[in-house]
């Protein structure tokens, strides 16, 4: 099982074992990681699962769709080069050890 390291805005860290195929949002919500809300359950409508994550070097990552791009512009915390909606990122073995940084707020 790949391990994912969630780093909150206050610097606190939680490492969880993630199920391959689940989205990073689902992994976070299922493990009680506050800082990711996922209000709309992954239907690309709410922008409350915003994360900053460097996925260069990880294969098979879906590109940012038009809907995701739009929502990132409306996220509650500022967008960065590394911004993604975590509901759009299915966990893969290659993601083992990645760091997912959470923004200060989602709403």
């Amino acid at each position: 099982m790949p391990k994912i390291r969630f780093v909150r805005a206050d610097g606190s860290v939680t490492v969880v074992d993630a199920d391959v195929g689940q989205s990073i949002m689902q992994v976070a919500v299922g493990n009680g990681i506050d800082g990711i809300v996922g209000e709309c359950g992954g239907s690309r409508m709410c922008a409350t699962c915003h994360v900053h994550v460097d996925l260069s070097g990880v294969g098979g990552v879906p590109v940012v769709s038009e809907d995701e791009d739009e929502l990132l512009d409306f996220a509650a915390s500022p967008r960065s080069e590394l911004s993604r909606l975590s509901c759009q990122l299915p966990v893969s073995e290659e993601m083992d050890g990645i760091t997912v940084a959470l923004p200060e707020r989602q709403t």
């Binding site: 209000e39 359950g41 239907s43 409508m45 709410c46 509650a76």
Partner: protein
């Protein structure tokens, strides 16, 4: 355009009628276990086995006046409770509500014997899975945040301006009946693509369909009003469909009619009904509750006066504090344990957003209106696949348009010292009257 004076007898009557109807609706929706279409066998069994002293003592009139002390008792003592007068299990803790929303396969939107479905037809509100998704995706493009910002916000501003021009010289108005209601009505008509319909039409349609949705007493007069409304809506939708098929526009009906996988016309008509039934009172009630909150919290008023971007926090806190949809139904599809209670397939659930939003396990001093709370998400928009489709429209029309314009255009706005502001409801909760005065 509507421009009722505060003493207008029609307006006074409209207010009383609306209030009575709201009372009736909640009473009928929840009180009728005998002589109703509900599954009385399950109900009886549940009532004898599960109802406790606490839940047996709950009265609808108390829930209507102020549900929050009752919600607190339930959260503390029976977070998933069979409540006889509600004829459902009420779920009141934040964590249970969030968990439930993440499991739509267990807690289904489709409800047996739904009167809302009888009135409106098969709408996306009571569909699940792919069928729900197809309808929702078709309606969604005009409601996405960029479209709302670029296209609808100027429309909302023009609508608010027109309403304010109608009464700003009067120095007094009922912000609920003269502003919040008509503004929500004409904004919704615009977004849907309905032309030549009045604010009164929209409000009457919305109210009569909601009354039909709660007509467990089978009152023929209620059915007749609902039927008349749905026929009028069908005619209005058909006129719009003919127009937008020839010339597509930015509206929701156009998006549905011209979608890649368009719902059939019957589905479009039904979904427009659910948007009218469910898309009007929420912005109306959040505008008026937020206005009431700001008028009674001078420190908040000073803050928004100094920084208009804080209106967003006012809006979000207002719908946490008094969620416009206080409770919505779900039906259990497979056996599940929630809050220490085993729920069987077919069990009816009342998801109490109004209670979850005041859960002291999550929100400190939950009964206080405080725009400086830590960033914990409220659940007023629901969650999961049925997450409120109008979220971005609501934020724009309430937080970016209605509230800032109201306070900017009506200098010295304050509660009317001679007429009482009133709030009511628990299934739907909001102001019943918000009389205000300002400096002319």
């Amino acid at each position: 355009m509507l421009s009722f004076g505060p003493e207008d007898p029609y307006l006074a009557n409209l207010c009383r009628t609306t209030e009575r109807l709201i009372c009736c609706r909640e009473y009928l929706l929840l009180s009728s276990s005998s002589g109703s279409r509900l599954d009385s066998r399950n109900v009886t069994e549940d009532m004898t086995t599960c109802a406790s002293e606490l839940t047996n003592a709950i009265r609808l009139v108390e829930l209507y006046d102020d549900p929050y002390p009752i919600f607190k008792e339930l959260r503390d003592r029976e977070p998933v409770a069979w409540v006889p007068v509600a004829n459902r299990y009420l779920v009141t803790r934040y964590a249970d509500v969030v968990w439930l929303e993440q499991h739509p396969e267990i807690f289904q939107a489709a409800e047996d014997g739904s009167l809302v479905t009888r009135v409106m037809g098969h709408t996306m509100l009571r569909k699940d899975g792919d069928e729900h998704l197809r309808d929702r995706r078709a309606a969604e493009p005009p409601l996405r945040p960029r479209m709302v910002k670029e296209h609808w916000r100027p429309v909302f501003e023009a609508n608010a301006d027109a309403l304010l021009r109608g009464f700003e010289a009067d120095g007094r108005a009922d912000i609920f009946a003269d502003f919040a209601g008509p503004l929500a009505a004409r904004n919704l008509a615009a977004v849907l693509g309905l032309r030549d319909v009045t604010d009164d039409d929209m409000q009457r349609w919305s109210q009569s369909m909601m009354d039909g949705g709660g007509n467990y007493a089978d009152d023929p007069a209620v059915w007749a009003r609902a039927d008349r409304s749905t026929q009028e809506i069908d005619a209005a939708v058909d006129a719009t469909l003919a127009r937008v098929r020839a010339t597509p526009d930015a509206s929701v009906i156009s998006a549905m009619a011209n979608a890649e996988v368009p719902p059939d016309d019957e589905s479009i008509r039904s979904n427009v009904k659910v948007f009218i039934g469910g898309g009007l009172n929420e912005p109306r009630d959040s505008i008026s509750v937020a206005t009431y909150a700001v008028l009674t919290h001078p420190e908040v008023r000073a803050e928004v006066a100094a920084d208009a971007s804080r209106w967003r926090a006012v809006f979000e806190e207002a719908i946490r504090w008094v969620a416009p949809i206080g409770m919505y139904p779900r039906q259990v599809a497979q056996q599940v344990e929630l809050g220490g209670v085993t729920l069987e397939p077919g069990a009816r659930i009342g998801v109490c957003i109004g209670a979850a939003n005041r859960d002291e396990r999550v929100f400190e001093r939950p009964d206080e209106f405080d725009i400086h709370r830590p960033p914990v998400a409220h659940v007023a928009f629901g969650g999961g696949p049925h997450f409120c489709l109008g979220t971005w429209v609501a934020r724009a029309q309430v937080a970016e348009v209605a509230l800032p314009m109201l306070f900017e255009r009506l200098p010295g706005l304050r509660l009317d010292p001679d007429r009482e502001a009133r709030m009511g409801g628990w299934v739907f909760r909001g102001m019943l009257a918000l009389p205000a005065v300002w400096d002319r």
